[in-house]
Symmetry: C2
Subunit: 202 residues, 2 copies
C-alpha cells in the first residue's frame, strides 16, 4: 500500500463536506490612478489572501464619513477598474452612512466617502457597500455540492453561536478558492473563530 498522508486525506474529505468560513474586516479597493494619488505609487503586496492573486497591500488609508472616520484601513490589491469600500452596518453607523447590502462590484447609487492617503485625497461619489455574504467556489466544488454561479443558498455555520444564513450568494470561478465570506457583524453574530466550517443547505 502506498503511504497515506492522513492530514491531507482528512482535509480532502472535509473539503467535500464543508466550506471554510472567513471573516472580512472593513477594506478598500482602489483604481491604479487612485493608488497613484493616495500613495504616489501602485499597491504593493504584504501577504496573499485566500483568493488566488488577491493580496493585502502594505498601503493603508483613512476613510472619512460625515459622522466619523476609520484610520489604518486595509487596502486589498490588485487595483480594480472601480473603487469599492466594504464596511459592516456597524461601521456605517460610526461613519454616518448606510451602506446598501450588495454583491461586490455593484456600487451604483451607493454612498460615497473620502479616502485619505499619505500622498493625497480621493473623494468617492459612490462605492461604499456592505458586501452581501457570499461563497467563492471552484467549478469542481460547485459541481460536487450541486450549486451554480449566482445561486442563492442557505449557509449553516458550525460556530459557537450557530446560525443558518439565508440569501447567501454563490460565486463560481476557476480563479476562486472555496471559502465563505462573512463580514464582522455576521462573524460576531455567529461567534466565528478561524477554521470554523459551514455547509450549504438548499
Amino acid at each position: 500500500m502506498d503511504h497515506v498522508n492522513i492530514d491531507a486525506l482528512a482535509k480532502a474529505v472535509l473539503g467535500k463536506l464543508f466550506i471554510e468560513l472567513e471573516a472580512s474586516g472593513r477594506h478598500v479597493h482602489v483604481t491604479e490612478a487612485q493608488a497613484q494619488t493616495l500613495f504616489g505609487h501602485g499597491l504593493t503586496p504584504k501577504r496573499p489572501l485566500s483568493q488566488p492573486g488577491q493580496y493585502l497591500a502594505n498601503e493603508r488609508l483613512t476613510v472619512i464619513g460625515p459622522k466619523g472616520e476609520f484610520h489604518n484601513v486595509a487596502v486589498l490589491g490588485p487595483e480594480r477598474k472601480e473603487a469599492q469600500v466594504e464596511i459592516s452596518l456597524t461601521d456605517g453607523r460610526e461613519l454616518g452612512i448606510t451602506p446598501p447590502v450588495r454583491p461586490s462590484g455593484d456600487v451604483s447609487h451607493s454612498p460615497g466617502v473620502r479616502l485619505v492617503g499619505p500622498k493625497g485625497v480621493v473623494t468617492l461619489p459612490q462605492g461604499v457597500i456592505a458586501a452581501q455574504r457570499h461563497i467563492h467556489m471552484t467549478p469542481a466544488d460547485a459541481a460536487h455540492m450541486g450549486v451554480t454561479d449566482k445561486q442563492i443558498v442557505k449557509l449553516q455555520v458550525f460556530t459557537e453561536r450557530p446560525v443558518i444564513f439565508e440569501d447567501v450568494l454563490v460565486r463560481v470561478s476557476k480563479d476562486f478558492a472555496t471559502f465563505a465570506h462573512l463580514d464582522y457583524d455576521e462573524a460576531n453574530a455567529c461567534g466565528f473563530r478561524q477554521g470554523d466550517l459551514g455547509r450549504i443547505l438548499q
Copy 2:
C-alpha cells in the same frame, strides 16, 4: 355585528404567528448600593422598555476596559441583586475583553470592567457578558407556540438579510411581554429594522 377594530385584529393575528424582534444595545444593570456610589441616588426612569416594569434610566455611565472605553452607556432599571454589563462581541474587541455568551444573570467567572458615574467609580470583578439571544414569552404565547421555559429553539427572522438563528433561549414568565432580543451584532447581521418579525422553528 359588533364594530371590528381592524388594526387590533391584525395585530392579534400576527401575534399568534410571529414574534416581534428588538435589538438591545450595550447597557448596564447595577445594584442599589452601586447606584448610590455612581450617581448619589437610586435610578430614575426615563422611559419604559418592552418588558413590564423595566425601564431606561436617566442615569448614564462610562464603561472602561483594558483597551478602550464607552461613554454615555445606557443603564437599565430597576436595580438588580448583582451588576451585569451586556455588550456585543464587537464591543468586547473595542474594550479589550472577551465576554462569554451567556443567559442574563449567569455572570460567574466573566470578565470585569470599571464603571464611572458622575459621583463615583465601581470596579466590577466580573459581570460582563454577551447576552445569549433569547425570546421573552408570556405563558399564553409559549403555550400557543408549543415551547416551554429554557427550551432552545431556532428563530427565523424576516429581515433584509434573513437568518435562522440557532441556539435561541426561550424564557417564559407572567412578568414578560413576548419579544425576541438580539444584540447589535445579530441585528446588523440580519439587517434588522424596528417592527421586523420572526418565528420559532423547532
